[in-house]
């Protein structure tokens, strides 16, 4: 049943596009087909460079996603793992939290333009005397 649904979902998309292809009229010209711009014809290749902080965000996503997939087995068997499993989970998460604190201090999570990789002094106190 699931396999049928698995085929059905893209089939709907294909059928919709086919219907449109068969029913629509076509009148293409340069201005219509060019990349969207405001008031002038864009002739450049528009695939320009983008800000590196987006890439950094995607790279930071990876370890946390892996973290999630390594948490999954514990989560599914929490009732049988006992204290050992819990300690392992907490040690694992604590390591990640330490890395995360380092990242936040590095400023890797800021989406600002003037990104300077400079380590700020770590805040290890809760209040100032």
């Amino acid at each position: 049943m699931f396999t049928f649904f698995f085929y059905l979902a893209p089939m709907v998309a294909v059928v919709l596009m086919l219907m449109n292809y068969l029913m629509s009229n076509e009148n293409p010209y340069v201005e219509k087909n060019g990349p969207f711009e405001c008031g002038f014809t864009s002739y450049h290749q528009s695939r320009s460079a983008f800000n590196v902080s987006f890439m950094l965000m995607a790279m930071l996503f990876l370890p946390f996603d892996l973290e999630m997939s390594s948490m999954l087995p514990y989560v599914m068997s929490a009732y049988t793992n006992g204290l050992y499993g819990l300690m392992m989970l907490i040690m694992f998460l604590l390591q990640l939290v330490m890395a995360f604190v380092y990242e936040m201090n590095l400023g890797a999570l800021n989406l600002t333009r003037n990104y300077t990789p400079m380590i700020k002094p770590l805040k290890h106190y809760l209040y100032k005397k």
Binding site: M1, A13, M17, F54, I90
Partner: protein, 316 residues
């Protein structure tokens, strides 16, 4: 044979729900802004969705000149497919699912992550600056918030110990999971709004900056596919909200809860102004994610502590 009829019935009802959700959104926004909204087609503008679909299917498919044609066609199909396949393990009533599987929620998570590829490839293939910028933004936003949502789903799995969504409904007959996890359900809702790129967090397609985000170069049926996938995932996430945190329910009850959450999306859209993009990412990475790490350590410890207390002090 009857199986196929049932499957088609469920699929068509999902499609119709999505279609009428768009009309409902336009009507709701209309009345919230003191205007009438669509009211000409059908009875009180109810058939507006059909009219829109018919209009969009009759329009020309514009192929941008320098675009990567295959990717351009594939990406809306990918995002629609991922949005539809999310529904495949959703129990509408006991035993009324497209397929009942003990790892259903896992598949749902996987499919909701595939949707990111649709927007990413759409922005890349269209060869337009607005598309590219929009897709970069949307990719960063979607993966960040997906991280959050996945962690929250994992914590729900921790409490229920299962990935079968039907069991969530059974387990929550005594108490909704949103009661002990109330702060988390609020965070979940915010994450859902951001994951769908709905208006307070719709920097992905901010009209004043990026014309329509990754959908700038899309027209007619390819745009319909994106539109459908957006609303399907919105409706899916509101159903999942009611399933995970607010007791789910069967048939009518589930529908009412899901509709309530779907209405909240529109309400939020009509009420709040757009958030700045870096603040949005900041909210995910610096506020929600550390909080969820804390919860991921706290909840298992609490559960272990309570169980251990029962074994150590049987009289307690």
């Amino acid at each position: 044979m009857l199986n196929f009829v049932e499957l088609l019935l469920m699929f068509v009802s999902v499609l119709l729900a999505v279609a009428f959700l768009t009309v409902a959104e336009r009507k709701t926004l209309g009345y919230m802004q003191r205007r009438v909204g669509p009211n000409a087609v059908g009875y009180y503008g109810m058939l507006m969705a059909m009219a829109d679909a018919a209009k969009l299917l009759l329009k020309e498919m514009v192929m941008p000149t320098h675009a990567d044609k295959l990717m351009l066609i594939m990406s809306p199909m990918m995002s629609l497919m991922s949005a539809f396949l999310c529904w495949s393990f959703m129990p509408f009533a006991p035993g009324t699912t497209m397929s009942d599987h003990s790892y259903g929620l896992m598949f749902t998570l996987a499919m909701s992550s595939v949707g990111v590829f649709g927007t990413l490839l759409a922005g890349w293939s269209a060869n337009s600056k607005y598309s590219l910028l929009g897709s970069m933004r949307s990719t960063a936003q979607l993966i960040s918030y997906e991280l959050m949502l996945t962690t929250m789903v994992l914590l729900c799995m921790l409490l229920t110990g299962t990935m079968n969504l039907s069991k969530y409904v059974e387990l929550q007959e005594s108490m909704w999971m949103g009661v002990p996890l109330f702060p988390m359900s609020m965070m979940w809702f915010m994450g859902c709004v951001a994951e769908c790129a709905r208006p307070p967090f719709d920097n992905v397609e901010a009209e004043s900056e990026l014309v329509s985000g990754h959908m700038t170069e899309y027209s007619s049926s390819m745009f319909v596919l994106f539109f459908l996938s957006e609303y399907t995932s919105m409706l899916f996430l509101s159903t999942l909200t009611s399933m995970l945190f607010f007791g789910g329910g069967t048939g009518m009850m589930l529908g009412m809860k899901a509709n309530m959450f779907a209405f909240t999306y529109m309400w939020v859209r009509a009420t709040l102004p757009r958030v700045r993009y870096d603040k949005l990412m900041h909210m995910c990475w610096v506020m929600f994610l550390p909080l969820l790490f804390g919860l991921a350590m706290f909840l298992p410890s609490l559960m272990y502590f309570m169980d251990a207390m029962v074994y150590t002090y049987p009289t307690m």
